[in-house]
């Protein structure tokens, strides 16, 4: 049972879109917290986010603030929309104000590098006792903002709560599916940004559409191996949070991580590739984290390893692609979890 106040923490493009949609739907009182007082002031006075999403008009019912306590106090739902590098600091600061029963819904896609934690694992650590959920899928903020159709997933271990969140985040142009696999969805969100760097590199090298499709597909196999080892459900990775978001991020010209990868493929350094970017390319942070998690869980992650090597400056992109092609021929399902017999289908969709 969600209360009538929602706090969205982080006024980047996606946090701004979600806060705007929630406020426009008018089902709850919505607070958008921006870390920068200047940005909060600008959003409040202009009715739009001049830094991250100037094209979207925000409803006047949205309250914008740089005061974390004001945003979070008595909120039934806390939506985390800050980059993973700042998430520990922001969520920790929230703990002084957060209600004991608040639901923490995460939007960021990555791994907290200090503890190699997913966002819900981090929330469980710094905001203990609160239920956690994740909203994730192939959702370019600018497209959702402009009213184009999209589908997404809300994952939560509690089925009833998942249904409530599904209702809360459903908007005329956003179709929400439920899923009970929080960790699977979160690992997917982290790995897809690393794969997008790899797909961008291949494109930047001019490796062709077949090569990109192979990176996406074999990258999904890497994700499935790691995600299942971390407790995720095999099907999650073929869903919107896995495949759907991998496809979007690896193919869209509007994807930040793909763009950075593209410039790396063209020979830029990481500094050159990210110059002038307003927002974070989470894949750069996630690449070494994903490799470390794969090592910890004993799963093969050859594409993420090569991406991490390029990001760290240990090899050139053309060497990375070359190495991926020269591996031993193998069976397509090698290393993938063996799934049991197919049982009866559940109700048709």
């Amino acid at each position: 049972v969600l209360t009538d106040k929602v706090a969205v923490l982080g006024a980047g493009s996606w946090g701004t879109v979600i806060a705007g949609l929630l406020a426009r739907a008018g089902r709850q009182k919505v607070f958008l917290w921006a870390r920068s007082a200047d940005l909060a002031e600008a959003i409040a006075s202009q009715g739009r986010n001049p830094r991250y999403l100037p094209e979207l008009s925000l409803p006047s019912s949205l309250t914008v603030t740089a005061d974390l306590g004001e945003a979070v106090h008595e909120a039934g739902v806390i939506v985390g929309a800050v980059p993973t590098l700042w998430a520990r600091g922001v969520l920790s600061a929230t703990s002084a104000y957060a209600s004991a029963g608040a639901v923490v819904v995460n939007l960021a896609k990555g791994i907290e590098p200090e503890g190699l934690l997913t966002m819900s694992q981090l929330a469980a650590q710094v905001l203990p006792g609160r239920p956690t959920a994740v909203l994730t899928g192939p959702n370019l903020a600018a497209e959702v903002a402009s009213g184009l159709p999209a589908a997404t997933v809300v994952a939560c271990a509690d089925e009833g709560l998942a249904g409530e969140l599904q209702e809360m985040f459903s908007f005329p142009n956003l179709r929400v599916y439920t899923n009970d696999d929080v960790v699977g969805c979160e690992v997917a969100g982290a790995v897809k940004n690393v794969l997008a760097l790899g797909a961008g590199m291949a494109d930047g090298l001019g490796a062709g559409d077949n090569a990109r499709a192979a990176i996406i597909t074999r990258g999904l196999a890497e994700l499935a191996r790691l995600g299942v080892a971390m407790g995720g459900h095999p099907w999650t990775f073929s869903g919107l949070a896995g495949l759907g978001d991998i496809v979007l991020t690896c193919t869209s010209h509007r994807s930040r991580n793909r763009s950075v990868g593209f410039r790396l493929g063209q020979g830029c350094s990481v500094e050159e590739a990210t110059a002038g970017m307003h927002e974070v390319a989470e894949g750069l942070t996630a690449a070494p984290c994903v490799v470390a998690l794969a090592e910890r869980h004993g799963t093969a992650a050859p594409i993420c390893e090569q991406v991490a090597s390029v990001v760290a400056g240990r090899c050139r992109p053309e060497e990375a692609v070359e190495r991926l092609l020269q591996r031993e021929p193998t069976h397509e399902r090698a290393g993938l979890p063996v799934v049991g017999p197919v049982l009866e289908p559940v109700e048709p969709c």
Copy 2:
């Protein structure tokens, strides 16, 4: 144990590329059969396929013929590379010459409309007793021809034979994975062309990258439901033949089916959308077949149904997209086969 002669039936772009690569590798004597005597003559005299792939030089060791008996006689491997609409006629005509132990490897991606059969089911009917296999994956012929890297799958129920075919079809820029799921790979190849029509329509309507990613992902769920009902392995659909080829065909500007869908989305009729195309867009034939198969097997296929409606002129693309968005909210795995517990992983890749 394969003999030293291979017959490639069909001199379209992909058949021509595969015949050329096999001949250049020099491991077998390779015959390429063209239905048109004029085309066979032109390919033989020019050392290239002027109609379908003028940019690729073919090795002089390749024998090109319009005589089916000459091509097939004593061939240990018969590679079927004709469109599904002609496959029954060509394979039936082959039966007079084909060795009893010849392996039939199919390259076409679609369903034979007369009997709603996959290509290996058709081969089992008209060339009974021969082992069948399928070579399929995200492989744009022109890219493979130009030496760009790609990955693909050879599926065959006989593991030893799969390994031999893997070796036979491995080339420096083509990485081949084995799989034992023939029917799963074949259904994937048929459904992906229908989904590409749908993704193209959405792009033609300007629906955005999020919508395309949703069509790809939810289309994969449709494929998995149908493919498993037809006896395929769940993992196949997340592999190169399923996801990999769906992604390629739904996103590449070089995909024929996507291009036809794009023009349909812009308001063209099927006739207008296919005007001037040299090669067949298999999705147009496959759309009603996939819907019929889904009905027979009792699986939901909402995207393929909408595509089939547009192709048949029963509704406009914008109505089709609208209907897909307005369906009841659901769980992401609804109707997907319930997979059993995850057992121990097989050897890492």
